[in-house]
């Protein structure tokens, strides 16, 4: 789980989705999540996953990195599906829901900087919560770097080796202890800075506007179409026999998206 890769793409990427307003992307993600919540057919769910991957490839987002993150919850969903699902199709549905929801959220996060996603949350949560959310974002990258440095230092001193798992585990635990002390020192430094600057609560995030209206429209229409398809297959029983068409359309989307993405390069 490399959170820093997400931030790099969100900050320095330049795709069609990066040009859309964060508010439009948040609405589009909400529509996609509504589709995931309501999908009740594994074939339709598979179609959503394929289509979403194709869309990400078409706008040239880093699909491989995204898939690593999106497939990660599949591991846990598999355990849940194995434990709780009464049959194979329901298990497949659970796993596909996990992957599709993760893919929707990861697409948002790979094209939108964290503070822009946190800004609307900050508006509806108590001030301490909103500010701590932004402070977590700042501290996260500092601590991730520090932990990486600590692990590298231990490895260079031959403390981390696959042949000696117990020793490596003990070294990792000590590194985490060091990281804990460092994080408390970091919080102390941040407190000093806030004190010096007269902070009384309420960080402000400058809202990012749309750089390309067509990108906003495209994201919203695409998400609405996917939700519409899911709604149709859920509430029109006559369509049940044609769910495979959604999977097929998803596969076509994926192939087309991959081709468009490759051409643009």
């Amino acid at each position: 789980m490399d959170i820093t890769a997400v931030d790099r793409s969100a900050i320095s990427g330049d795709t069609l989705l990066h040009r859309a307003a964060p508010s439009s992307k948040l609405v589009a993600t909400a529509l996609l999540l509504a589709a995931v919540v309501n999908v009740n057919d594994p074939l339709v769910a598979a179609g959503l996953t394929l289509s979403l991957t194709g869309a990400a490839a078409a706008v040239r987002l880093p699909v491989r990195q995204m898939l690593v993150l999106a497939l990660y919850p599949a591991v846990f969903a598999l355990v849940f599906a194995f434990a709780a699902a009464a049959n194979v199709p329901l298990g497949a549905l659970v796993v596909l829901k996990a992957v599709t929801a993760a893919l929707a959220v990861v697409t948002l996060m790979f094209s939108t900087p964290y503070p822009q996603v946190f800004a609307p949350i900050q508006r509806v949560t108590p001030r301490v919560v909103g500010d701590a959310l932004l402070m977590t974002y700042r501290s996260l990258f500092i601590l991730a770097d520090k932990f990486s440095d600590l692990s590298r230092a231990i490895r260079l001193r031959a403390g981390l080796s696959r042949r000696q798992p117990v020793r490596a585990a003990a070294a990792t635990v000590r590194a985490m202890g060091g990281l804990l002390l460092y994080s408390l020192d970091l919080s102390q430094r941040e407190y000093d800075i806030l004190h010096l600057r007269g902070y009384e609560g309420g960080f402000r995030v400058v809202r990012q506007r749309s750089a390309d209206r067509s990108a906003d429209t495209a994201a919203l229409i695409y998400s609405a179409i996917l939700l519409g398809v899911v709604a149709a297959f859920r509430w029109i029983p006559g369509l049940a026999g044609y769910a495979w068409l959604v999977t097929l359309a998803g596969a076509v989307d994926l192939a087309t998206g991959a081709l468009i993405g490759r051409r643009r390069r």
Partner: protein, 291 residues
């Protein structure tokens, strides 16, 4: 294993909406308590500890679906109220990188906040009772008890969801025979998914009962889909209580190791807050005191 790795759209809407409402109330109370002792102090501390928990959670042992949590340590350092805020932040950031559903953020927050509050109570209570020299066994025992309780909460949530509430249709797929039905073909074309018999279920019904009973068989099919689509709570509990203890022991070892290291390197950090009277407003890491 304790917090919910259940994807979006599996739990019934009333359950996750209740989770969100309860979390909103908890956050309201927690932020009021945090503001009383100083926002300026709370914000960086919660930020740093939440970030630490997130970094720790990136250390995974995939085969047993386990990752380090550090929630007991975070709870011991933050206390129950700041712990609740930290729990919400951690769960939200995790959901935003696809690790856990967005709809279950509320329920997840309640689970992690409970973990932190229990961790705080058990670690501090244990250290007061047994003394600082026993920090490792106290930390390990507190972690195991905490995770056992929250895992039981998880099973309770799945049980609350109930088999009826979570039952869902699986579209054209017959979950009994794993065949796809084509409603416009008069049940003549069936495609077996996992070695299913092409003249399976539907065909049998058609030949035995004829076209007169067509509607009845449709209804039967729907009933089967409902039953077949239910979550099995007992199997879920069996798997969770089988895999869970491995995770509890690993987490207990990590917690004991980290807290043991902290008490050895900087004993005042944990022990000062343990020995301080309950009214003391100084927080962990508050080197200069005051606001």
């Amino acid at each position: 294993m304790s917090h919910i790795h259940i994807p979006d759209g599996v739990l019934p809407w009333w359950l996750w909406v209740t989770g969100w409402v309860a979390t909103a109330l908890l956050l309201g109370m927690a932020s009021r308590m945090a503001t009383r002792t100083g926002t300026r102090r709370a914000v960086p501390l919660v930020g740093a500890i939440s970030a630490l928990v997130l970094v720790a959670m990136s250390i995974e042992i995939v085969p047993i679906a386990y990752h380090v949590n550090l929630t007991v340590i975070a709870g011991a350092l933050l206390g129950p109220w700041l712990g609740a805020i930290s729990a919400f932040i951690v769960v939200l950031v995790l959901a935003l990188v696809g690790h856990g559903g967005i709809t279950v953020v509320g329920l997840n927050t309640l689970m992690i906040a409970t973990e932190m509050a229990l961790g705080w109570a058990l670690v501090h209570g244990g250290l007061r009772l047994l003394g600082s020299r026993r920090v490792r066994p106290v930390a390990a025992a507190s972690t195991i008890v905490t995770l056992a309780i929250t895992t039981t909460m998880l099973v309770g949530i799945v049980a609350l969801a109930g088999s009826g509430a979570t039952a869902r249709h699986t579209g054209a797929l017959d979950v009994e025979t794993l065949e796809f039905r084509n409603p416009f073909s008069g049940d003549l074309i069936n495609v077996g998914l996992l070695g299913g018999d092409n003249h399976g279920h539907d065909g049998e019904h058609a030949t035995e009962a004829g076209h007169v009973d067509e509607h009845e068989t449709e209804a039967e099919h729907d009933d089967e889909h409902e039953e077949g689509g239910a979550l099995s709570v007992s199997r879920f509990a069996a798997v969770v209580y089988t895999l869970g203890p491995i995770g509890w022991v690993l987490e207990a070892l990590v917690t004991a190791g980290v807290l043991g290291y902290v008490v050895r390197v900087r004993p005042s950090l944990l022990l000062r807050s343990v020995n301080a009277p309950p009214s003391a407003s100084a927080r962990v890491g508050d080197e200069h005191g005051g606001r």
